[in-house]
């Protein structure tokens, strides 16, 4: 898994947004006024034409459209990897998860949407009892996912979260107590 899909969409993880270090100590050859004037005009024209090339390309390629006709294409809806839905806790085949009940995510959450309720196993070791996640106050900011050192929670892709019953927004994310490799 790359950095990007772990944290959802985070601009500082996308290399394209990184600024190149500014070049210093590189003196441009001195131009005369007329040469500068001409280079301004021709450079400007060229950059305008470059922009026009991009827009005409997207115009002539309707396939590049990213808009989804949502309710109609419900069956073939294509989700992008960067999309952030509600917080989920991935489980393996045996129904076990990765959480150690360290409560870092609880501390990271600005809205107090997470409550990690630890418990103790027979050996007296701290394990996760209940992972309570309140969807109604969550702002889908992914700070909890970033804070988790064990990669136990992620942003899901589900977005049809409307419900008529407010109580159903308080979720328990873990299926059973403990962790798959304790």
């Amino acid at each position: 898994m790359t950095e990007v899909d772990k944290h959802g969409s985070r601009p500082q993880n996308l290399g394209a947004f990184e600024r190149e270090p500014e070049k210093q100590d590189e003196e441009k050859p001195k131009q005369g006024m007329i040469a500068r004037y001409c280079s301004l005009i021709f450079g400007g024209t060229k950059s305008l034409l470059t922009g026009m090339k991009v827009t005409i390309f997207t115009f002539l390629n309707p396939k590049s459209t990213v808009t989804q006709q949502y309710p109609e294409n419900k069956d073939t809806l294509e989700m992008k990897e960067r999309f952030r839905g509600q917080v989920i806790m991935p489980h393996n085949e045996d129904g076990e998860h990765n959480c150690t009940a360290c409560t870092l995510c609880e501390k990271a959450c600005p809205n107090g949407s997470i409550n990690v309720l630890p418990t103790k196993n027979i050996a007296g070791k701290k394990i996760l009892g209940k992972y309570i996640y309140r969807l109604d106050t969550c702002t889908i900011c992914a700070l909890c996912v970033e804070a988790c050192p064990f990669d136990a929670i992620r942003m899901g892709q589900d977005f049809e979260l409307a419900t008529l019953n407010k109580d159903s927004l308080e979720l328990v994310l873990n299926k059973k107590e403990g962790r798959w490799k304790s």
Binding site: V54, T65, T67
Partner: protein
């Protein structure tokens, strides 16, 4: 019953004349009306004027509607969106629905706005557009009026649109609006200079100010259009013309007077409902007018690209096709270029465009006197 029968016969006669008449000599609609009225020429003039006005109104409102739809579609596809999709198949009724909505919206006037100027302003750009539409030569005989000083008249009336914006902005008593009005005033005055120089160039090389005569100097195929007839210089002044009309139309990259992110909505911040839609309509009709003028002056008007394709009575098809291409160009510019800053805009006009158009005007004189142009 017989009365309606007569009218029906008359309409049939008119259609017969329109489709089978000899359009190369005169406008068949006007001729038929004159035929009906016989001696009574005043009546014929009044009926013809009524028909022309109705046609202009239809052209203005229909073209604005169609242009708004296409603008939204084109902008959508240029930005990897789809544009309107829901109202009708591919959203073709979207602008109709918008128009109906605007029509029934409350026209709200701020308490401190000046009553007279506030309500006068939306009509001025619209009036200017109608006055110019009347002289646009859609075809050899499809033109409401053909004044001898056609192009001078157009240049004079074109200033009205800016006037409307300024007094609307002032009358609505809002500082954003006022700023926008001042900006648009400065912009219009500056770019009008270069626009007139580009027009003057065509007047100089064609030797006419009458729009029909200008078109007639471009007869005989694509290389006789002024854009190609004057080697290189024609193309350059065409580009200048497009840039300056873009500025006159207040469209991006010169949409400083609307500048949503800086001024709210600029001069129409305080307008709603039908008053707003008047501004909006005028904007799009003005775009049609600018494209028609570009077609008339540079692209041979209603002449076909090849003389063999020139059928009398079908020139408006060629005219429409060329105008649509120019309008697409405006769309393309608007959805590609970022907005200029006010000082950059002024800089561009006074330090580049104005000297350059003066030099090109001078060069055009040289070209003409040396005979450096295609054709005779």
């Amino acid at each position: 019953m017989s009365f309606f029968g007569t009218i029906w016969d008359g309409v049939g006669e008119m259609f017969d004349a329109i489709f089978n008449g000899d359009w190369s000599k005169e406008n068949q609609i006007g001729a038929t009306v004159r035929g009906w009225c016989g001696e009574n020429e005043t009546l014929a003039d009044w009926i013809n004027a009524g028909i022309s006005l109705a046609t202009l109104a239809a052209i203005a409102s229909l073209s604005a509607m169609v242009l708004v739809y296409f603008e939204r579609k084109v902008s959508g596809h240029m930005q990897r969106r789809l544009g309107p999709m829901r109202t009708g198949p591919h959203g073709i009724f979207q602008t109709l629905a918008d128009g109906i909505k605007l029509f029934f919206k409350e026209g709200f006037r701020p308490k401190s706005a000046d009553f007279f100027t506030y309500y006068l302003a939306p009509f001025i750009p619209m009036m200017g557009s109608f006055m110019i539409l009347a002289v646009i030569p859609f075809d050899q005989h499809l033109q409401v009026a053909n004044p001898e000083l056609g192009i001078i008249y157009v240049a004079a009336v074109a200033g009205l649109a800016g006037f409307g914006l300024i007094i609307g902005a002032w009358g609505s008593n809002n500082k954003y609006s006022l700023l926008s009005g001042m900006r648009s005033g400065a912009q219009m005055i500056s770019y009008e200079v270069s626009l007139l120089l580009a027009i003057l160039l065509i007047v100089l090389v064609s030797g006419h100010t009458n729009l029909q005569e200008i078109i007639k100097t471009q007869e005989g195929g694509i290389f006789n259009w002024w854009i190609f007839k004057l080697p290189v210089l024609g193309l350059i002044s065409f580009v200048f013309f497009i840039i300056t009309t873009n500025a006159e139309l207040n469209r991006t990259p010169f949409d400083l007077s609307e500048a949503e992110s800086e001024l709210g909505a600029g001069f129409h911040t305080e307008y709603s409902g039908i008053c707003f839609s008047m501004f909006f309509l005028a904007e799009y009709v003005n775009m049609l007018i600018a494209a028609s003028l570009a077609t008339t002056l540079f692209l041979g008007g209603w002449h076909a690209p090849h003389p063999g394709l020139d059928y009398p009575g079908l020139g408006w098809l060629w005219f429409g096709a060329k105008t649509s291409c120019i309008i697409f160009l405006y769309f393309w510019f608007r959805w590609t270029f970022p907005r200029l800053r006010i000082d950059q805009m002024m800089d561009f006009e006074w330090r580049f465009l104005l000297p350059a158009s003066m030099v090109s005007l001078l060069l055009a004189g040289v070209f003409m006197s040396m005979g450096w142009y295609i054709g005779d």
